[in-house]
């Protein structure tokens, strides 16, 4: 069996599973945030009316809650949702509620690795499509909706169709200025936004082995944009060290068998890759930076679960050091722990010196909700993961998806710019 099959066989208490099998998997960890949490509360209300018991969760110690999409609250409904969520976690005994303004908090997918909340070999589900991110730690990590999350919270398990796995084997050294973001955008450009639909996208090869854990998180994050059920990288010593440094213990990874099978294998030569952008309005509209349109940009955004991890901020800061931004530039570290390291490491002062604004962790502008949405026809370059119509604000606004280095270089010139083309 391959890695995902091994994890799902273990979770469904079967000797083996094959793609296409429908199983009920025991869930090891479950996550809700300030959108899916109130969504689940609504489902609970509906269930109560039908006489279905909702008074006890299967295991509150396996559930954690993030406040990320609508914090800091911009208006009354968002504020009320946080109150509702807090009452919910308190009444059900959920201890791990990362609250805005009370120490560590941030984007749910970034907390999952920063706080070592998910371990290799686990089945982890979250009420958010980018739950796929955390598969980079060697877990089966998959996004679900509110009804399914309500079911998980009450029963501790959920149905899955065992997915086929596509293996992306990447070999060689990535050229200077080419990052994990460029790799995953290139892959989505090649296979399309439904190229991974219902399947697992697994990443392997020496390029991936040599990548940092954070780069692997970037790869898995955007498997969602290819429609994949999950993304995964086999755990290794780097994964174990990363999690141990963040307080994890009792890590017992699951590995694929030697005769693991894949529905497709794609091979990539890392040395042939270049910095790219995804043009509006789809993550699959991938173009090399050197051939990108020369239109004027209005904003650069360095934020989100995809592009505001610590190393993403380092990459952007390296470009912005000693330079000034020409367009409005927003940097929003993904969690408080990342923000704090960015302050202590001097990144924040360098970024502010360039003119960039450094703000609190939030999903706000990435999903067009608040905290810097785009106006009519504005053009943005962003380290986020989606550029659908209206995604980051007005339906006529346009977003180019890029790596932190390309977004930072473009902030300096006001046009899409290759980092090596700066003076």
């Amino acid at each position: 069996m391959n890695l995902v099959e091994k994890i799902l066989a273990r979770a469904s208490k079967r000797d083996s599973v094959s793609p296409g099998d429908v199983i009920f998997a025991d869930v090891d960890k479950a996550m809700l945030h300030d959108v899916s949490g109130p969504g689940v509360i609504k489902v609970f209300e509906k269930l109560k009316k039908k006489g279905i018991k909702t008074d006890k969760l299967w295991n509150p110690s396996k559930v954690w809650v993030a406040e990320d999409h609508f914090v800091p609250s911009a208006e009354k409904i968002s504020a009320q949702n946080i109150v509702k969520l807090s009452k919910f976690t308190k009444s059900y005994g959920i201890q791990r509620h990362y609250k805005y303004g009370m120490g560590q908090y941030g984007i749910c997918h970034s907390l999952s690795h920063e706080e070592a909340l998910v371990l290799p070999g686990e089945v982890y589900v979250g009420g958010d499509s980018h739950t796929n991110t955390t598969g980079a730690l060697g877990a089966f990590a998959c996004g679900l909706g509110h009804t399914d999350m309500a079911y998980v919270l009450l029963h501790g398990r959920i149905w899955f169709r065992v997915p086929e796995t596509i293996l992306f084997k990447i070999s060689g050294s990535l050229p200077k200025s080419v990052s994990a973001k460029d790799v995953i955008l290139r892959i989505i450009g090649d296979i399309g936004t439904d190229g991974g639909a219902y399947r697992t996208m697994q990443f392997a090869g020496d390029t991936v082995s040599n990548m940092s854990v954070e780069d692997r998180l970037t790869l898995c994050n955007m498997t969602t944009e290819a429609g994949a059920k999950n993304g995964i990288v086999s755990a290794d010593n780097k994964t174990i060290q990363y999690l141990t440094e963040r307080g994890a213990s009792s890590i017992s990874p699951i590995y694929q068998d030697d005769d693991a099978e894949y529905s497709d294998v794609y091979e990539y030569d890392a040395e042939s890759l270049v910095p790219v952008v995804a043009e509006p309005y789809s993550p699959e509209n991938v173009t090399p930076v050197s051939e990108a349109p020369t239109e004027d940009l209005d904003k650069a955004y360095i934020g989100s679960c995809t592009g505001a991890k610590y190393e993403d901020l380092v990459a952007a800061t390296r470009i912005l050091k000693g330079r000034k931004v020409k367009i409005r530039t927003e940097v929003l570290p993904a969690t408080i722990s990342i923000y704090r390291r960015a302050v202590e490491g001097g990144l924040v002062s360098t970024l502010m010196e360039s003119g960039a604004m450094v703000g609190p962790p939030t999903c706000g502008a990435c999903c067009g909700a608040h905290m810097g949405v785009l106006a009519d026809k504005e053009v943005c370059i962003s380290t986020t993961n989606r550029n659908f119509p209206g995604r980051m604000g007005h339906v006529t606004s346009r977003t180019y998806l890029a790596s932190p280095a390309v977004a930072a270089a473009s902030a300096v010139t006001g046009r899409i710019t290759h980092p090596e083309d700066l003076d």
Binding site: D128, S129, G143, Y151, G227, G368, A369, P389, G390, R391
Partner: protein, 159 residues
């Protein structure tokens, strides 16, 4: 059930256009419905459709259950598409909001905006009452069929 088709002749209709991100804070179903398809078609509500017909990868993007909720509360009983994104598909079924029905390219071509159609998931047929023609729809996988018959995931008893 028979009803009118609203057809969007395009692929990759994403959840951000079905219900834009700014409305994710709303959990009142009726209020969500007022914003359905706002990112794509401002005249959606005036069309008073019962069915949506669309191309490949319908509902791609986020896991927001708001998407099938907003469509369902707007009177949409089923979406007939060439294919669906996985979370939209399972949200529609597990929450019993609407039926995600896969159709082939020929059937897709033969159903036009404004047609009156009737869907029968027992015989796996779609009848186009406007053109008086009948087509096959792709049968649901067993698990999906069982959940639909159970009225959603919470009514389903695993075998």
């Amino acid at each position: 059930m028979s009803g009118k088709v609203v057809k969007y002749d395009q692929d990759n209709i994403d959840t951000d256009v079905i219900i834009p991100g700014q409305y994710l804070k709303i959990h009142d179903y009726a209020e969500l419905a007022t914003h359905a398809m706002e990112g794509l078609d401002e005249s959606f509500h005036s069309k008073k459709g019962t069915y949506i017909v669309a191309g490949r990868n319908f509902g791609c993007g986020s896991s927001r259950e708001h998407a099938p909720i907003a469509l369902s509360e707007s009177g949409i009983k089923a979406v007939l598409a060439l294919s669906f994104a996985r979370i939209f598909y399972r949200n529609s079924v597990d929450g019993a909001f609407l039926l995600p029905i896969e159709i082939d390219q020929h059937t897709y071509n033969e159903i036009s905006d404004g047609d009156d159609i009737q869907v029968d998931i027992t015989s796996n047929k779609v009848m186009n009452n406007t053109t008086k023609k009948t087509y096959s729809i792709k049968p649901f996988p067993d698990i999906i069929r069982d959940i639909i018959d159970a009225g959603g995931l919470f009514g389903y008893v695993p075998k």
